[in-house]
Amino acid sequence: MSWIPAPVSRFFHRTSSPPYFYALADRFIPWLTVIFLVLLGAGLYGGLYLAPTDYQQGDSYRIIYIHVPAAWMSLFIYVLMAVMGGIALIWRMKLAEVMLISSAPIGAGFTFVALVTGSLWGKPMWGTWWVWDARLTSELILLFLYLGVISLYGAIEEKRAAARAVSILALVGVVNIPIIHYSVQWWNTLHQGPTVSKMDKPSIHVSMLVPLLLMAVAFKFYYLIAVLQAAKLELLKRETSSQWVKALLEKQT
């Protein structure tokens, strides 16, 4: 790996050592929290107060400021988990395993939020809580994929072997992600087509789009905070008997 500059590779090597990562996460979390709160405040203010009422859907469209970022996150985290899985399998990096398994419950949570908010929005708009449409169903399948990852990890005693199994599963399951993403184009069903990611010109007004993007970034920061906290806990659990954990405990008591 000589083509990677030395400082960069040193950074990665150091970050992947558990005690260093633990300290780094501790240092970053307050800053991330501040950024998250600012973005969340701005996004919610813009979305719920400044943005105009939709001419067709009235005020109930505003749920997209939660629903759409959560749905994006649900896909994003799964892809991220697959990447972590690849890293964990190829380079046997402990930290990638920890990040992978810490991401799973968060991703499942976002998927659940996307499903629930979608259902709440569907009742006034489509007149039904649930339809078996391609996107809804594939989002539900995504939830099951997350649950499969979580329960497979729970079922295997030896945690390093469990992480390897989960990595394989995450990599295999990632084939479902494009199916979910393109479901709106492939099947012509009830869920509306994409409005934001159309390359040429988003068919959503700027005053609505900006808060949506703010919320999306805020959710990314929320994920970072949550995954760092979860990874810290997972590291402590895995390395109970190691020197740095003992030192940490002594310092705190």
Binding site: L89, T137, S138, I141, F144, L145, L147, G148, S151, L152, A155, I156, A161, R164, A165, I168, L169, L171, V172, G173, V175, N176, I179
Partner: protein, 224 residues
Amino acid sequence: MPIVQAFWALIRRDLLLAFRRRAEMANPLFFFVLVVTLFPLAVGAQPNLLRAMAPGVIWVSALLAALLSLDGLFRSDFDDGSLEQMLLSPQPLSILVLGKIIAHWLVTGLPLLLVAPLLAVFLGLPEQAMGTLWLTLILATPLLSLIGAIGVALTVGLRRGGMLLSLLVLPLYVPVLIFASGAVDRAASGLPVDAQLNILLAMLLSALVLVPLPTAAALKMSVN
């Protein structure tokens, strides 16, 4: 032993083993027939309703039958230690795994082809859809064995992997189910089905190439 010879030897061994336990071999088939017969009892025996539901009913039942038979794919080899021997053998594990999957399909997937038309007649599936039903079964039941093999390989080391297996494998079966039952459904109403069949074929070919790799990796992890 050259790799091709090892591959055929493994298939022959698995088929022989299955043939010695004929009763077990028939179980997934009976299960398939039973599940299909439960539907008219549960939803009511109106011919129109059954005709509309036939593709879905047959495909869901095939899926469940495949799921039921999956556990046997590596279980007995794992229990008696021959799986470890396969891991230790100089042949690449992914080729051996492919052999085992093919043998599994010949034993559990192929018989479904013989019963499915009979059940389709029971459910009143229109005659023009029969060919498509066969084609989807030929293309997609190997897919079920292939995808399922990953799940089995991941859970074979666990004492109670059965429930977990269905949680892992069924979400991955969903695309197969959608395209296969969709094709039969379209054929029943006289529409062209080339797109669905092509997608199934593409999925089958890519699974044939890709699936043995994660399965072999998962087996190595499980046996460890």
